[in-house]
Symmetry: none
Subunit: 187 residues, 4 copies
DNA sequence: AATGAATGAGCCTTCATTCAT
DNA sequence: AATGAATGAAGGCTCATTCAT
């Protein structure tokens, strides 16, 4: 079983990929990745046929987690709290893991699984919003897709802000939650 | 008399630049620009030492207009209307002219004038917000910088949305204005 | 009992190789071959240390058949008919099995056996030509090597011709046989 | 006028290209060409967007010369002599300049001019053959295309022959001319 | 004996920028 | 002031071959 070596390499590559993307360098080259991981280019290309494939691999778990969070949020008794909690957690997550936004925004996915997960996510978020509207706590025509793109847009905005990203994030959260009509802290 | 030629060239280059950037191709190469304008690369580089410089030139008037709009908004009697009008006009503008967002988001400006204008803009918007808070129509801790980055973020989100960008834009506007606490249509 | 597995694998590899080369893809990668045969690259490399070795293995029987044909042609009573028959059959064969030409043209053989067979073939063809000259039906200084390379050259020419390769082949055959001085159909 | 430098460079590149292709290395890399010419890659790519384009440039004059020879051959009083002279000269030429064969055999041309010239050539050769048939000195159904491909095939055969290429060439010439029905030396 | 992951040289190509004329 | 040829780093990618397991 060469697997031991192989897995080790794959882990190193993935680790470096996570590092780079996590540091905001979503555009890192596969060649550069190979260099950092101390591995031949071919090895990286075997693992990730495409830059996009690499991004999706890095983000896979995070994306899944986001879907789970959306699904779980629908179970929270307080409808407003469910939605607000989901959005807040997701934005904080996206700020920490910018690769998520790259993948969410991409039109063509490298792995079919990713496309599926993205659809799942959009549906789950749509359901959250519908539930909110049904409960009368959401006053906004936003679709699930809209809300997700908004999330991405906010991440961009926050990344473009110099320091104090935490504070900026909170200000945006307040704004968006209030904008949705949800009772937030700033009410 | 060479001046005439020179100015003519500059105009053609700028024209092509406006065309490309206006068409959404903010990343157009200076080489490509030269080709389209029918001039040598050197001529373009003399006019725009940097890609960023080109963007700023293309966007200059638009940026100025934005500042003027912000200043004028402070004169509108109805405080809320002033702020809301400014934001709506600016977002529509940014959607039409994506180059604006590129420049607003950039950390390093190529031309000092641009930096100045950006500061002016931030100040004017801050004043608008402060005025709103003083009048009790704005309930949000957002700074002027925040609001501008938000504008950029929304443009990203809208650009990432497939079709029906006009409708998406309206939904975002409603959300943000409501989020600011302003009496909007959706109230 | 591992032998059984091994032999099975070798057969599958050889089969795929025959398939690919027979389909005209003489340049098929050993990696690709492994993929098609469903075995590891290493297995293929153990069987064929070189791409050339693979070609020679694929072509071995055909080459042998060509030698046999040349030998048998020397037994045909009608000298001209013997030579003409051999050449025609060989050209048709080469057109059908392009790998043969690759091997015949190669200067360095991968397997010593191939070199031996190629020498045998050249000798047999030389003898055919000499017999023809002795019988006065061949008017041409061509050596056995010459005739074989000519065969390869014609295959190239035919492969480069678009459609109607059968017709082109016949035209070339007529030309060459007439050129040798043999009474052909076109006489 | 940078032209002086530029032309110098282009000449060096073309010279190296001629050298490599002339030496039989028709597959020389554009990068390698740049290295040999002591020039940046970009410079070569500016001159030759494609490997095929390079080949065609190298061969352009030779191809033209071949057409001229075919045209001139139609003016030779002795019909057989005209055709034989053309074919002999062309084969010798092709042996000296293997790039010609690469270009003649290619299906897709890089430069439209090349395609035109190739068509011209085929037509001119067809006319030569027709003239020969009309005069009763050609007994062969070969088309112009056939004869050209045959030329290429012979070049392959000759290149594959070890030494004494001159002698081999003559033997092939005798064979082909006799095969066409032309009165040759070997008659 | 079989496996297949790993390697890395090397090809193709683009592009921002310089600089000789 | 204009020109556009030249540059060469850099990225994307393939593939023959090796070697640890």
């Amino acid at each position: 079983m060469v697997r031991a070596d192989a897995r080790r390499n794959q882990e190193r590559i993935l680790e470096e990929a996570r590092g780079a993307v996590g540091a905001g360098d979503t555009g890192i080259t596969l060649n550069e990745l190979a260099r950092r991981a101390g591995v031949g280019v071919g090895t990286v290309y075997r693992l990730f046929p495409t830059h996009q494939a690499m991004l999706e691999a890095v983000v896979e778990d995070g994306l899944r987690a986001m879907v789970d969070r959306a699904t779980a949020a629908a179970e929270v008794e307080d409808v407003a709290e469910g939605l607000a909690g989901f959005f807040r957690a997701s934005l904080l997550h996206a700020v920490r893991e910018p690769g998520l936004v790259s993948v969410l925004v991409a039109v063509d996915d490298a792995v079919t699984g990713t496309s599926g997960t993205k659809v799942e996510l959009a549906l789950a978020v749509s359901r959250l919003l519908d539930r909110g509207r049904a409960a009368g706590v959401v006053r906004s025509a936003l679709t699930g897709e809209d809300l997700l793109k908004l999330l991405c847009g906010l991440q961009h905005a926050i990344a473009a802000s110099g320091d104090d990203q935490a504070a900026v994030t909170e200000r945006y959260l307040d704004l968006v939650l209030a904008g949705l009509g949800l009772p937030g802290r700033s009410t």
